[in-house]
Amino acid sequence: MDDETLALVESFFAIDVRTDALSIRGDPALATDSAMTTESDTLRMITIGPTAFISGAAVRDAILVQLATALAGPVVVGPVPAVLTAAQATSAVAFNRSKLRDRRSVIAVQSLVGNTLTGVWDADTIQRVAQLQTNEGTLVVDGKIGQQTMREIAVQLEAAGQRNSLLRMIVDFNKLDENGLMDISFDPTVASNAETGSFAIPGPTTIRVGPSGFTQGYEGLVHTVAHEYEHVRQRRIGIQSRNIREFLGERIEILSKGMIEEDIAGFADDCGRALSHFNAMTVAEQRAEWGHFVEIRTKLRARMRAATPVDQVIHAQLLIDYNAVVRP
């Protein structure tokens, strides 16, 4: 309910919440009107307390006071390493612009590699990314943030506790559709991998990612976030059936289009959940979702064929269970 109020106020007063803020959300336990923590030096997580929810203007002011607080980047910026040629750096700038377009993602990278925080890709930042690749030891050193370098950045951000910055980068890197999303943030009190809620369906949605969402590893985290964004879409267009929502959420993870793949254990877990939700649907729902079920089963069969003999044995029952399903 508070999240809906915040979204309404942000929209009505045209408050810029995407330049410097990673998250703005209500906190019923907050004793003041608002509070703020930061990640990546200057990216803000703003919380609004119950005392601010007395009027739209009061909520607006509570947000603006935090957005107006001056924040500084790193005091000392080290010398630029000379890992790449100028041409290589130029190429990497263009590449990274296509992969990470949100200035908050760029700031997260610049903060991680110790550069001035401009929010814009430049040769200086690229050289520092190349240094990070060099230091890691196994990455291709080209300054480009592809899947493997993104994975390493994710590991480093997670180790540094920059979880909201990491979520922003994952959303940006995987080009997830934010239509209908009010807020996404890390929430240490969430016991699930992630939770997605809204006051009503159809309606806008809030995502909270819990600690276990991060400890499952980078690939699992990417899939969890993509799964939750699928819920945002579903809730926006008004899918009421929980079983259909969860089935389709697992489908996003299983098909993994444009995303890094999970290992076979994570993949099989997704398939097991999808089957549980499919079996729990009404017959009419199963008929409506039959095409998606076939998509999933086809992908399962393909991954099982490519799996190691040991994994084929471990997950044999799952394939049997899928093959046993007949068209409703």
Binding site: A194, T196, F199, G213, S276
Partner: protein, 132 residues
């Protein structure tokens, strides 16, 4: 084998935005040992990987419209299952309105249900709520 579910509203909410912590205790009232899932994670009647859900109704007994959420939670592990001797119990807490925030102000009743694969739904006495 008989399980009894007790639910206690620790801090009754005044407004729908307020936290509404509920302590749930599952008691083995039977003469034999009973295996229960002590994780006591909340969810919904039609969701998976949950041990608790609520039946939220208006004061008149009609199902109440409420906010809800989708969640992705690991399955319970062996460590979550405990054996209760006769008279033994397990307890947990969750925020009722975090999962079942009513869409309208009013008077409500919430029955907390414990359910796992081995037991049918076990219901608490209703909790009374009146929120602005």
């Amino acid at each position: 084998m008989t399980l009894r579910v007790e639910a206690e509203l620790l801090d009754p909410p005044r407004e729908r935005r307020d936290p509404s912590p509920v302590r749930v205790t599952v008691v083995n009232d039977g003469p034999d040992d009973a295996v229960v899932n002590a994780r006591l994670a909340p969810g919904y009647a039609d969701s998976l990987s949950r041990e608790l859900y609520a039946e939220l109704t208006t004061d008149g007994g009609a199902p109440a419209a409420h906010a809800d959420r989708d969640y992705e939670r690991p399955w319970p592990t062996n460590d979550d299952f405990v054996t209760l001797s006769p008279g033994g119990s397990v307890s947990g807490e969750f925020d009722l309105f975090d999962w079942y925030r009513p869409r309208q102000p009013g008077a409500y009743r919430a029955v907390i249900v414990y359910s796992d694969d081995e037991h049918g739904p076990q219901r608490s006495a209703p909790l009374a709520l009146d929120v602005a």
